[in-house]
């Protein structure tokens, strides 16, 4: 019994340090004076999401984008400065009354889809996220870069079950980095 308990605890502790095989496709574009990013999850387990929401549950995907300013020189060991961070949460479920897939987010409101493929494409993607006004980026080209990652929970746990996520959370992709448009990568 003690061994089993230990095994469970071990798995819970290990589970709190997630590793994910999925990757992030990250694009950035300059639209006027605004810096917009599009983040897409590649290799996300669509079947698990569909199975979950058709079972009456909800799935959640969290897009996290950060704009960093490089810290060069004497104090580079302190790390780069986080300039701005955006986090967008999208929740998906199936509307049994209307036979439609629904995606809800604070950023884009409620969207309904009849077609499964269209729903999956939109759920795994966050397009045209306004990250920053480019006029505020005063430093020279190459001083800024973007990091993004995605966390997918095929089953969004409801309270009080969500305490499970303290020990075991769904996989999070590694951070994906790109240079912002018009700011070439610095030569080191």
């Amino acid at each position: 019994m003690a061994d089993r308990m230990f095994l469970v605890l071990f798995c819970l502790v290990i589970g709190s340090f997630p590793v994910c095989a999925d990757t992030v496709s990250l694009d950035a574009a300059r639209v006027g004076d605004l810096l917009e990013v599009s983040i897409t999850l590649k290799g996300g387990d669509a079947e698990q999401v569909i199975a979950s929401i058709q079972d009456g549950l909800k799935s959640e995907i969290v897009f996290q984008a950060r704009l960093y300013e490089r810290n060069w020189g004497l104090f580079s060991f302190l790390g780069d400065r986080l300039f701005v961070e955006r986090k967008v949460v999208q929740v998906a479920y199936f509307d049994f009354f209307e036979d439609m897939y629904v995606v809800e987010s604070e950023l884009k409101g409620t969207r309904k889809y009849e077609q499964r493929e269209e729903f999956m494409r939109d759920f795994f993607q966050l397009a045209d996220l306004r990250l920053q006004d480019m006029r505020d980026l005063k430093r020279e080209p190459g001083s800024y870069y973007i990091l993004a990652r995605i966390r997918l929970d095929p089953v969004r746990l409801v309270p009080p079950l969500n305490i499970i996520s303290l020990f075991y959370s769904s996989a999070v992709t590694p951070w994906q980095e790109i240079q912002i448009p018009g700011h070439p990568e610095p030569k080191l």
Binding site: F17, L57, F97, P159, I163
Partner: protein
Amino acid sequence: MRFYPRNPTPVGLLVLVLILVVLVALIVVFSQTILASLANVDAQANTIVLIASIILPLILLGIIIYQLVLLIRERTLKRPGSHLKIRLLLFFVFVSLISSIPQALLSVSFINATIGFWLQAGIEEGLRGALDISLEYYRGLVDNLDRFNSSRAMSSLLRDIRLDPDRMWRNIQDANSSVHSVQIFDEEGREVVFRGNQNSRVEFSVLDKVTGNLPKEDREALSILRNITSHNLFGRVYYSIVGTILTEGFDAKARQLTESLENFSQLNRYRRLFRIVLVVFYLIFSFPIFLLSILVSFLLTDEISRPIANLEEATRRVAEGDFSFRVLTRSEDELSGLVSSFNRMLAELSHSRKKLIQAEKINAWQDIAQRLAHEIKNPLTPIKLSAQRILKVYGKNPETIDQILEPAISAIIQEVDNLNQLLQEFREFARLPGPNLEEMNIGQIVKEVAEVYQHLSRTIHFDFSHLDEIILRADKKQMKQVFANLFKNAVTAMPAGGEIRVSTDIVKKENSNYCRIRVRDNGRGIDENTRTFVFTPYFTTKKDGVGLGLAIVERIIFDHDGSIHFETEVGVGTTFFIDLPMEMRKL
């Protein structure tokens, strides 16, 4: 000497109370804030929480292990009160367990019972049934609108669109009571007729001439279902939109129903993991509190056992002869009364002991004075007699004085020399200094001393076959004196010659190791009447002896924290046993 007990208790208690307050605050914050908004906690935050929940108990565990190590060390060193401390600690831990284990079992069984109650058979099925009924009702309404709007009957009813729209509306209501509104648009999207509930009215431009069921629209508390169909009337195309308004609150209730179903479905799916996590959570919160209770137990144990340990220490010191020891206490409880009584008793004991020592000293000096007077008186008689004889011969026959002068004066000188030797040895005995400790080889010392006696008497044989070379910390000069005195006595006891065997051995007394040196002779032995006085100063059976040899031996061995005793048998011989500590403490 005064003994001041350590008194960290108020500070320690304050620290523990602070830890408890912090712990409770953390638990409250954790449960109120973090658990309530877990949905927003990302993996990194989870890791921080997890690490925090591990580090705190680990710190407490570390302190407890440290305290335990100290306690075990105290026990190993046999510090006063350590045994009582361990027993008290075990008692407190036992009491903590008695109170916490039933509580834990109760909590876990309560959790299980609650989850079991939530998941009792039928609730999820009931919810799914309710959802199916709702869906059936909803789809019935949608199908009804679709069938009705695309039916020929509807096309017929719409023929009154121009002549009498009100009659058309009445006929539609008669034909299908579920229809709460009708809206007709011409091909250009202009509204021709609208009848029914105004909430159902819609702009045609948003419809884009798509026929079929429209998505459900929510307006405030109302949910509206619509169907749009095209009709050919009078050679033109018209679009009819029939609408029905769902029961007020239907949408909210349907949402509640799906959410409840989601909750139950999740609970059912993760109940095993949830139970384990709840137990882990319980442990995370309760384990530090349990550890804290053990820490408090340490503190209370220390508090309770300290006065008793002080008393134990005091009795030990008194047993060692330190009567100046006093126990101080700051408390005002029963133990302080006991401590006061103990201190009073010590004071009286110390006073009595001083008196006793004084009396013993006087007795000893009286005894020595008597013995010394006796020893001095003995040679005085021949001195007096010799002097009187010289005077007498000088008075009566001065011419014959030459005949007696030399032997009389020689006798006087001899006795004065004896007196001088007596006083010299007395002075040496009285002034015997403390041992000057250094590492020495006891076997080597024995052989060095024996060599002298070997030269003096050819009839004496020394046997060192069992003499080991053991290193001791002792005063080399004094040790030589010990063996010289013993060998001297042995040689005297064997006038016709004999064997002196010296052997060494390691013996253990209680927890200390001793070097035991045996000096055995095969002389005449010591008779029973004399045995009691062997180590008594000025007691001697030899004509030319002073009686201080063995007294000095005993004194030297005693000064080395050792002991000496002997076994003897008349006609067989005597063996002296000397025990010297292997680890001599610094004097």
